[in-house]
Symmetry: C2
Subunit: 576 residues, 2 copies
Amino acid sequence: MKHLIDSAMKRESCDLVIRGAKIFNVFTGEFEEGELAVKNGSVVGVGTGYAAARVYDAAGLIALPSFIDAHIHVESSTLSPEEFAALSVPHGTGVIVADPHEIVNVCGIAGAEYMHEAFSRLSVNGVNPLDICLQLPSCVPASPFETSGAVLGGRETEEEIGRDLFFGLGEMMNFPAVIGADGDNLIKLTATHAAGKIIDGHAPGLTGDALNAYACAGIKTDHECLDANDCRDKIARGIYVQLRNGSSCHNIEENSKAMNEYNYRRFILCSDDRNAHDLKYTGELDDALRRLVACGVPAARAIACATLNTAECYGLKKKGALAPAYDADIVLVKDVKEFEVCAVFKRGQLVAEHGKALFAHEKRYLPETVGSTVRVKAVTAQSFAMDFKGKRARVMSIKPNGIVTEERIEDVTCRNGDVVLSKGLCKLAVVERHFATGNIGKCLVRGYGIRGGALGITVAHDSHNIVVVGDNNEDMARVVALLEKAGGGMAMASKGVEDVFPLDIAGLMSSAPADEVIARTKAITDKALKMGVEKGIEPYMTLVFLSLAVIPKLRLTDKGLVDVDLFDFVSNEADA
Amino acid sequence: MKHLIDSAMKRESCDLVIRGAKIFNVFTGEFEEGELAVKNGSVVGVGTGYAAARVYDAAGLIALPSFIDAHIHVESSTLSPEEFAALSVPHGTGVIVADPHEIVNVCGIAGAEYMHEAFSRLSVNGVNPLDICLQLPSCVPASPFETSGAVLGGRETEEEIGRDLFFGLGEMMNFPAVIGADGDNLIKLTATHAAGKIIDGHAPGLTGDALNAYACAGIKTDHECLDANDCRDKIARGIYVQLRNGSSCHNIEENSKAMNEYNYRRFILCSDDRNAHDLKYTGELDDALRRLVACGVPAARAIACATLNTAECYGLKKKGALAPAYDADIVLVKDVKEFEVCAVFKRGQLVAEHGKALFAHEKRYLPETVGSTVRVKAVTAQSFAMDFKGKRARVMSIKPNGIVTEERIEDVTCRNGDVVLSKGLCKLAVVERHFATGNIGKCLVRGYGIRGGALGITVAHDSHNIVVVGDNNEDMARVVALLEKAGGGMAMASKGVEDVFPLDIAGLMSSAPADEVIARTKAITDKALKMGVEKGIEPYMTLVFLSLAVIPKLRLTDKGLVDVDLFDFVSNEADA
């Protein structure tokens, strides 16, 4: 503290002075002229005439506090933490509130420990370029209908939530359990409160008594608001609204309509799920800010949503502002319309410039716990045979440009103990891959459109078993074998041609460099498209959601077909 | 938590439902129609159709979150904590951030322990009607020029600040020490940070580098802003502005000019020093809100300044809003212009109604540590003799309607070893009263105007020695004797007539009921006025500030006359 005070008083030289920038003051909403002075990683003042070891010329630029991504699943980038950081930081991100929900569903707590450690090892001269607030996932598994790699019940949550490793409890998706005051769930919530930590929410459209009940659990955020009215409801109950700028799901345009001069302090920004391509080429919160300002939100309010508001929501006392004693996490942008990021400082250390990370990120931390996670009981073509006793089948119908499915009842014919796939019909299978139980869930799908082959992936929300789709048993078996051998990934097999892009970290993320991940994802996707996948269907990303048994109507898990509306298993046999 | 959720879902009956009120939502700034439902001391929802053990009819009223007084010295009311609470709560106060600076200067930590315990013993069916966040005073003593009853240095602060008893560090008035990075002061600040607690500020007019340095110490509030520009400066450096509505010092009218739609979240309300009469007849934050709205500030913003903003500033997670899981601290007012308080609930318990406290407050908690604090070495009339060697004296000149003094050089005559008091000249003495050291500081004053007697008080910022003023030594000695016998208070003696109103709690506060305190304060003040005290001089309140050696120009302590501008002792002899 003495050094900060002495530097502010100019009795001592600063470490860094940024000159020439207009400095955005998030407390006043105004831009200040002056030098931004930094000592020992903290801002010491905005003024003139500072002496400093390093002067950074920022003429014509604007200095903002670094952005805080209020909710992100890093795994959705399919990047290693190292590569994620190398894309995220140059776009101005200083802190992420990360929910390692995916990897913990595969690897348990070891998955969270891995994420934290991998991020923590990054350094520029001893400064970590990206702070991570790691949430303990609240929904492992996400539903009772499937086999996940780990189970975190109330007891495990009680044991874990107090650890320094965890910042709070991850998004509480199981809102029926919350409003039903389900015992095991209550233990998780109560333990988190007892530890004095925050609970993130996930409650699309919840309103009235149910929303009151959800808020009674002390849940403080929601990133799933369906529209402006939903936002207003959440805010009224003391829940921060997270405006989401994910790769697939955006709600900034609609939901920012609920923001006004009075309530803007209750809005914050997040990515939720963001793929590697978008992270690299479109950005992260810089892109969210661009969108928010394009909606007509004044820049000062928008920036508060990416900085101070989030810091307040999560109790990050030294983040979110460029003021004395705050961390010198600084982003230099060209303007506050396009938010093009020119340089990023973390605790006064330059960590990215002109879109490039200035920290070593090539070396991977890869503990055994996150490798070799794909354990499958041997499958053969015969494993995918589907013999119907009746004449009518319950078919999952996939619609383009969305993730909702419908139920269709279709006539089917069987031959030699297997169903005959009529035109446009395929098989979908979910192969358990954590404990080699041999569980295989199977069903028929229409609307996907693959011909003469199969493809599959080990990313499948939220238990991440293998999802494979195809029009013949042989290629489906081949895909499963390819994925097992690769330790997870995206794979295709078609008439003797085959390809696999390994996601060797827990079957979710690649240890390859980001550019390779982006290129190989595109290549293997293009191959899938050539196999006849319907227009409007993203070949792999569609599969990823087909086992998420919380989205209507039909979903498939390793244990079988689920009717989400009935919240129960149903038979493939429509006559049953 | 289960009971809250079950009550919100109406599976369980609530404890209290408030019907018919418009409910102010501090997150949206809007008023909601509906029932406000409470269970186990928490709000569970705003809705309709709740069953409840108790229904409170609030037709035509408005429900607000209880007010949080961000900074108050309870001792300034001269009331016991019990009587203070009985006046404060009916005006809508739910939480006070109290700095027991005065009593700790007399009694040390025992004074703080007393305050906390006295407040904590209040109860309505097990619910404490007024939460207290007790600050550890940072400036004991406030200046090096005087003898206080206790000394809290860096070491003592390090030992104490971690205790649950203390919420944070009280107003850091010694800003020269902060910006000078004075060692002992730094220990206090650093220890408070290490304990994760907040530091209140006091830095009138500080700007530029000095303000940056002050903010570098992590000081988070200021209630001494001189004008709107000073407010803007403080806010820009991350310091919350406390708008003050004290009995003597108000700055709401001027300082609220700095408030706008963007920065309103950084303003909070406080009383600082409020006397018993004003507390009873004018109010506390209800009065501050009335003033703020009268300045043209929209009611929604004003209410946020008394509730949510303050809760955020001080990290009071369950205070400041009427939303699920928040404490059911509720104020019912007639409107949001006059803010006339009709009823007050604390954690769902009715604790005040129609201006009357509904809790027992007659019984005093009076530990030995705060009684018998007046220890004086015997004085006689001769103790007040002033023999000048030269012909010219340095005279403290008191101005009406203010607390600043001036220095005058006057010719003096001595006779029989004592100065001859010419017309309008009096003697002022400060008699050390903590350790019976026999220290007596003496000087001449002009502008006070007392004739034929003396009066004195044991409240004297900040060391609270006896301040006595008079035109003859005999009455001055008599006043000191009266105060010693009473254990402190306000006393007068004039031509054989004498009166004393005891402030038997540390010489600062009375154990009498509030009405008696108000009446006797008025009576003894009236007697003083009859002794010829000049117009514009409040007889006792003026004395209270005459030893506060931080306000220009001349001040008197038990150790002698201080020139505040020189920041040193000076002689009574102007020729010296």
